[in-house]
Amino acid sequence: MINNVFTIKNLNLFYGKYQALHSINLDIERNKVTALIGPSGCGKSTFLRCLNRMNDLIDSCQIDGEVLYHNDNVYNRNFDVISLRTKVGMVFQKPNPFPMTIYDNIAYGPRCQGIKDKTELNKIVEKSLKNSALWEEVKDRLKDSAMSLSGGQQQRLCIARAIAMEPEVILMDEPTSALDPIATMKIEELINDLKQNYAIVIVTHSMQQAARISDNTAFFHLGELVEYDKTDIIFTTPKEVKTEEYITGRFG
């Protein structure tokens, strides 16, 4: 229990009348990579967005059940969403750098939290870029627009941007689906390095990717959590028939 950052209990989610998630129970472990797999529309991205309350942005979205972050339900009325999002970072499917300089992209989050000191910001920017394996490529052009980077670099910049907040968890929503194989490989290596310091929850369409990088895998189907276990168990001896059918490519 002490090693879990998130404990999800009986989570149901509705978009209007449509129920997208059916009583999900799941624990997210510290310093582990947790992969969420399943066919399109199975609710894995929706589930991911519950963890930092990005579903709040959708008007018709209603939630019951508990998402416990260190024993605090993030859906409690008086829970501070802003501080949750500084602790639980997110990387999106499509790289979405802000139209600013590389430096300003990284400094954006800390600045929003009121950090103004130049030397401190410089340190944060350098450290974040180093930890996202981007420093060597951009150290001479921190004042260039982030839009001038390649897609893979932009995605690593978005990871650096999340790291700059020194979060505890990083959520990744299909972070490599818009990238070429080499950029994908770099991101996967990066994820492997990052798990020493962060819990990572990653939604992926690629089962090979889940098998390569994750420690735990959750298989979602039609809004239900079908199976959740250690990744090598899921991919070698799954308990559920549906899981086996999916990972062997019989549907999805």
Partner: protein, 324 residues
Amino acid sequence: MDFIKKQFGKIKDLFHFNSKKEVVDFIIKLFFLISTIVSASFIVIIIVFITKEGIKPFVTDNGGIGSVNLVRFLTGTTWLEGTAFKSNLYSVGFIIINTLYISLLSLLIAMPIGVLTALFIAKIAPKRLSEILRTVIELLAAIPSIVYGLFGSGIILVFVYNLAKVFGVQSPGGNSVLATVLVLALMILPTITALSEVAIRSVEKDIEHGSLALGATKTQTNFKVVLTSAKSGIFSASILGIGRALGEATAVSLVAGNARSGPTLSFFQTTSTLTSTMLQGLKETTGIDYDIRFSVGIVLMVVILLTNAGLNFVKKRIGNVHVK
């Protein structure tokens, strides 16, 4: 039908077309080209006509009065006109300054208000309210300038007159720089708001979500990310706004007071712009006094062209500069 088919065949042979479809394609392209030539040639005709009339005061002796000195015309500080005493002492130097001064001031008022309104409509207001506001802004943009002028001379002149009294200044009936700036600001406000709103609305949701996911508040997101992303569109809106301000004649004529000398920097004194100068008494005059208005027209076109070029240059520069 046969006739048309024959003609098609002729064209086909003449231009070595391979099929009927290519002929149709060619004719349609020709049609587009002709439309473009017609519309473009009108611009050329207008420029040629205005230039031809406008250089007359400088190159002829204007029926014995003597030609106008170009340098004096462009730099002088009085507009000496009148059919009673014929003169060649026309100058627009001060009017150019007045025009730029007034337009920039009105932009300075209209831009922040317009952008904040746009942000409210696009991002903050509930859906229903923002639809209503959008319609209102579009209606405001469609109001003819003479109506703004009437509003200006009925309401704003009185307001400025009374305001001047508070400061202990006697404003000539309220006709003044301030009244002109206020009327112009009102006029360009809907343009700037409507275009900025479109620019803000078209900022990708991804970027906004990225900011929120980093723990930024809605307000931080709106000001630091949404406005930054929309700045190029907002700048275009301002360019159109200042274009309208520079070119507005009717409303300005009703509240500017048409000063004959200047430049006027004081808010409560009468002023004049290039457009109001052209318009004033245009119908009742002849000879050099008529022709010189075309010269002013050339100056106006050059001023607008240079302003746009300058602003576009700045726009390109800020495209890469980044807001903290």
